[in-house]
């Protein structure tokens, strides 16, 4: 009797494949990390905003009523309405309690739901970042792979010039140059704005130029190094065609290096698009965050920082899994995770 009940349980335990168990464990660990990041991040944001110089009620009133109409009277009414004269720790506890019930609260300036505003801005930023990333990946990896085919060749040297030029050109300047060329002179693309399908082209190209140069160099170095490796030479020796060698061995191994690198760049991209967003009047997260800091809109700052922190955790998790999936070396994936 005891045997018969114990047996299926043991079987069930054995039935969970190790990969799934590892994945669940990793995800659990990452979720715990995310919770920690959220707690620490939003408390730090709150503390930093509170310690900034200037009276918060006045800053919020300036955000609400504009610089012509912020007065001591409007600041006092803001203070009373939002309970800004309550003890600081109480305001923090309120925010954390809201967060525990997944309520990001309302903006102190506009009164609108922070989750709604954040959703709009985050979606725009991610859309822009994704478009820039796809462009940069296509251009960068192709150029890198071609350059690595002949190290020291014309294309290789051209990509070095490209990387240096693209990195030396600040996105703001590059954006202006692109607008002057494609909008003012050629008139084929809109200079700035949001809402039409072709609005995304110039900001995405601006962002992708710098990135594509970096991707090209990383791809080029990785490919060149892998081409020299024993396993590629062995694959060639055993008679695999060069195209198959490239697909099966070079691409896959380059992917390991490139995925980790792209992961880092995506984070830099999402967090660093402020200037480009502002130049192209793109209503993204960077744009929203700048406004929120300027206006001391604490719930909005905390929510934006929280979203960015969660993106970091999510991105790292995705990169880890993707690397583990692509990397041919380890026999047991749990070893890398």
């Amino acid at each position: 009797m005891t045997f018969s009940t114990a047996k299926p349980r043991a079987l069930a335990r054995r039935a969970v494949p190790p990969a799934v168990a590892t994945t669940a464990m990793v995800l659990g660990r990452r979720a715990a990390q995310a919770a920690g990041v959220v707690l620490l991040g939003s408390t730090a944001c709150f503390a930093i905003v509170q310690s900034l110089p200037g009276d918060i009620a006045f800053r919020i009133a300036a955000g609400r009523y504009g610089y012509d109409q912020v007065t001591a009277a409007s600041a006092e009414s803001v203070r009373a309405e939002l309970g800004l004269d309550r003890p600081v720790w109480l305001q923090l506890v309120d925010w954390l309690a809201g967060l525990a019930s997944f309520d990001l609260g309302n903006s102190l300036v506009t009164g609108a739901s922070v989750a709604g505003e954040l959703g709009i801005h985050l979606a725009s930023s991610l859309q822009l970042a994704a478009a820039a990333l796809v462009l940069a990946l296509i251009v960068g990896t192709t150029a890198g792979a071609l350059a690595a085919a002949r190290p020291g060749g014309v294309l290789d040297r051209l990509t070095i010039v490209w990387v240096s030029a693209a990195r030396a050109l600040p996105p703001f300047l590059l954006g202006l140059v692109l607008i002057l060329l494609f909008s003012v002179h050629l008139g084929v693309l809109p200079a700035a704005g949001h809402g039409e399908a072709n609005n995304i082209v110039l900001p995405a190209v601006t962002l992708s130029v710098g990135l594509s140069g970096l991707f090209a160099r990383v791809t080029r170095d990785a490919v060149a190094q892998i081409r020299q490796s024993d396993y590629v030479r062995f694959a060639a020796t055993k008679g695999l065609g060069s195209w198959l060698v490239f697909l099966r061995h070079i691409c896959r191994n380059t992917g390991v290096t490139l995925i980790a690198y792209v992961g880092v760049q995506v984070l830099v991209l999402v967090e660093g698009v402020v200037v480009v967003e502002s130049l192209f009047a793109w209503p993204g997260l960077g744009h929203a965050l700048v406004h929120a800091i300027f206006w001391r809109d604490i719930p909005m700052i905390q929510a934006a920082a929280l979203a960015l922190a969660l993106i970091v955790v999510a991105m790292n998790t995705v990169v880890d899994f993707a690397t583990a999936a692509v990397d041919p070396r380890p026999r047991h994936k749990e070893a890398v995770l």
Partner: protein, 520 residues
């Protein structure tokens, strides 16, 4: 191989040029069917009339009871007439009987009274400063009862914060969730914080707007707006910076509409300060300023050098006969010497062991302010005054006023926030001071002149009272005028009828038309 590559490149270039040509041609032939594209600096983060910065009245979506023409003369808005009781304590605004909201409901006195009551409850709006006792609906009229006479009440009811929205604009918590107004244009699509599509309102009682569709796009940076204008992405572009404007003027392809605003850039002085409280010192600072050079080099508009507080665009208040404020460094030095200031070994003035060091606060929302502050800093340094310029947030000015820590502040003041400058002046130069006006300074003659004007009792003496106000401010310098303002808009050659409103209340989109095309 090489030649084939060159051929491909050549073909791509030709294709690109053809594409560009098509786009260019499209711009001209489709003019009549396209919406009017308006670009401006105003983003909208909230739809509430008190905080939306007047965008929806500029776009002619929402109306106020009282309107004003480009000369600032009050006109019918939603109210077709208004009158005050003999004692000036009770005002009646008769509503236009045929007025409809965009959702088809009638504009009733109850709706208007409740919108005004809500506006009155928002601190910082002009209506909140009026001594209102009650606002009620009286058949087809809105009745406003006052605690004391307040002659400029109709002007206050022209302020954008008093716009009348339909009951369907408000959500369950009484927050404005959409803008349903009664103006010639209605909101067709809205995408905060930067994009609005408008369509002409079919049941608008007046003349139908010639252009039936309008899109508004906000762009925060002046450079972006200039490029949008240059690339024909916008038909009318507001909020141009001096440098871009000069460039566009030189290119000569686009038209420029401009108007002098009743706005002045000024230095607010803490007259209760142990150094700046001395009228000789304030005069010396004023004499040190090179207003003409600042206007020419920084604002790119020499005519904007202020000679007195009120610009010519406030004809009732501007005194052509007033002695202009001028630069006179020698005079300034003499005044400071008379006040007991002598140069120390480091070139900074000293008196009784105290160095002449003061702080000036300003903010970057108007990009010319920090630059002007630096120019002022340089001129005062020549006199031996060390000016510490702090560029921060606009709210630091009222905050510094309140806690008394403010010394000097540089900002621009709109004297026509409501069409009658008296309302703003009464606030700025009240005996106890004003956030954007006097600080630690009052003058009984000025207070009584403003009071006489506000009571509206003595219409004949109004001009005399206004002259007195200007004279006192020019002599006492509780604020030191620096420059006036010109507002410019860049207009595509295919648009006609763009007239800028010096009161910045409306963009008058309904008066704009497409230029008639000559077909050959």
């Amino acid at each position: 191989m090489g030649s084939r590559k060159i051929r491909v490149a050549g073909m791509s270039a030709v294709a690109l040029l053809m594409l560009a040509g098509c786009a260019g041609a499209g711009n001209h032939t489709q003019a009549a069917t396209q919406p009017l594209r308006v670009v401006g600096q105003f983003e909208f983060h909230s739809l509430d009339p008190s905080t939306a910065g007047g965008l929806f009245t500029r776009l002619q979506v929402a109306e106020t009871l009282v309107d004003a023409d480009v000369q600032g003369v009050l006109q019918q808005g939603l109210a077709e007439s208004w009158s005050a009781s003999a004692d000036g304590l009770s005002w009646t605004f008769m509503l236009r009987p045929d007025a409809l909201f965009h959702d088809g409901t009638a504009v009733t006195a109850e709706v208007a009274a409740s919108a005004l009551t809500a506006a009155r409850g928002k601190a910082g709006t002009p209506l909140a400063t009026v001594p209102v006792k009650a606002i009620s609906a009286d058949r087809n009229a809105v009745r406003v009862d006052l605690a004391e006479p307040f002659a400029p009440l109709p002007a206050v009811l022209a302020h954008t914060s008093t716009q009348i929205l339909a009951p369907s604009s408000y959500g369950p918590d009484q927050e404005v969730s959409k803008v349903v107004g009664s103006g010639p244009y209605q909101v067709a699509h809205i995408e905060p914080p930067a994009k609005i599509k408008l369509a002409a309102f079919e049941n608008w009682h007046g003349e139908k707007p010639a252009i039936s569709e309008v899109t508004y796009q906000a762009a925060g940076r002046a450079e972006s707006r200039a490029l949008m204008a240059e690339s024909a992405q916008s038909d009318v572009t507001f909020g141009m910076d001096p440098t871009s404007l000069q460039k566009i003027k030189q290119a000569g392809k686009l038209n420029i509409a401009d108007v002098t605003l009743p706005r002045t850039i000024l230095l607010k002085v803490n007259s209760g300060h142990q150094v700046l409280g001395d009228i000789q010192v304030r005069r010396a600072i004023s004499l040190a300023l090179d207003r003409e050079s600042m206007a020419t080099a920084l604002l790119r508009d020499p005519e904007m050098a202020a000679t007195q507080l009120f610009p010519p665009s406030l004809p009732d208040w501007h005194q052509a006969s007033a002695k202009p404020l001028e630069q006179d460094p020698a005079g300034a030095r003499k005044l400071l010497a008379d006040a007991g200031w002598v140069r120390g070994s480091d070139g900074i003035l000293e008196r009784d062991g105290r160095k002449f060091t003061v702080t000036l606060r300003t903010f970057p929302d108007r990009p010319e302010l920090p630059v002007l502050a630096t120019a002022i800093q340089a001129k005062l340094k020549e006199l031996g005054i060390a000016l510490d310029v702090k560029v921060g947030n606009s709210s630091e000015i009222p905050a510094g006023h309140k806690d008394g820590s403010l010394e000097l502040a540089l900002f621009s003041r709109n004297y026509a926030l409501v069409p009658d400058a008296l309302v703003t002046l009464a606030e700025d130069f009240a005996p106890e001071g004003g956030d954007y006006g006097a600080m630690g300074w009052s003058d009984p003659a000025l207070t009584s002149a403003l009071h006489v004007l506000a009571s509206g009792n003595d219409a004949e003496k109004a001009a005399e009272s206004r002259g007195k106000v200007t004279d006192i401010l020019q002599g006492q310098l509780p604020v030191i005028p620096v420059a006036w303002y010109r507002q410019s808009a860049v207009v595509s050659p295919r648009v006609e009828g763009v007239i800028l409103d010096p009161l910045e209340r409306s963009w008058r989109l309904s008066d704009m038309t497409w230029k008639k095309q000559v077909t050959l």
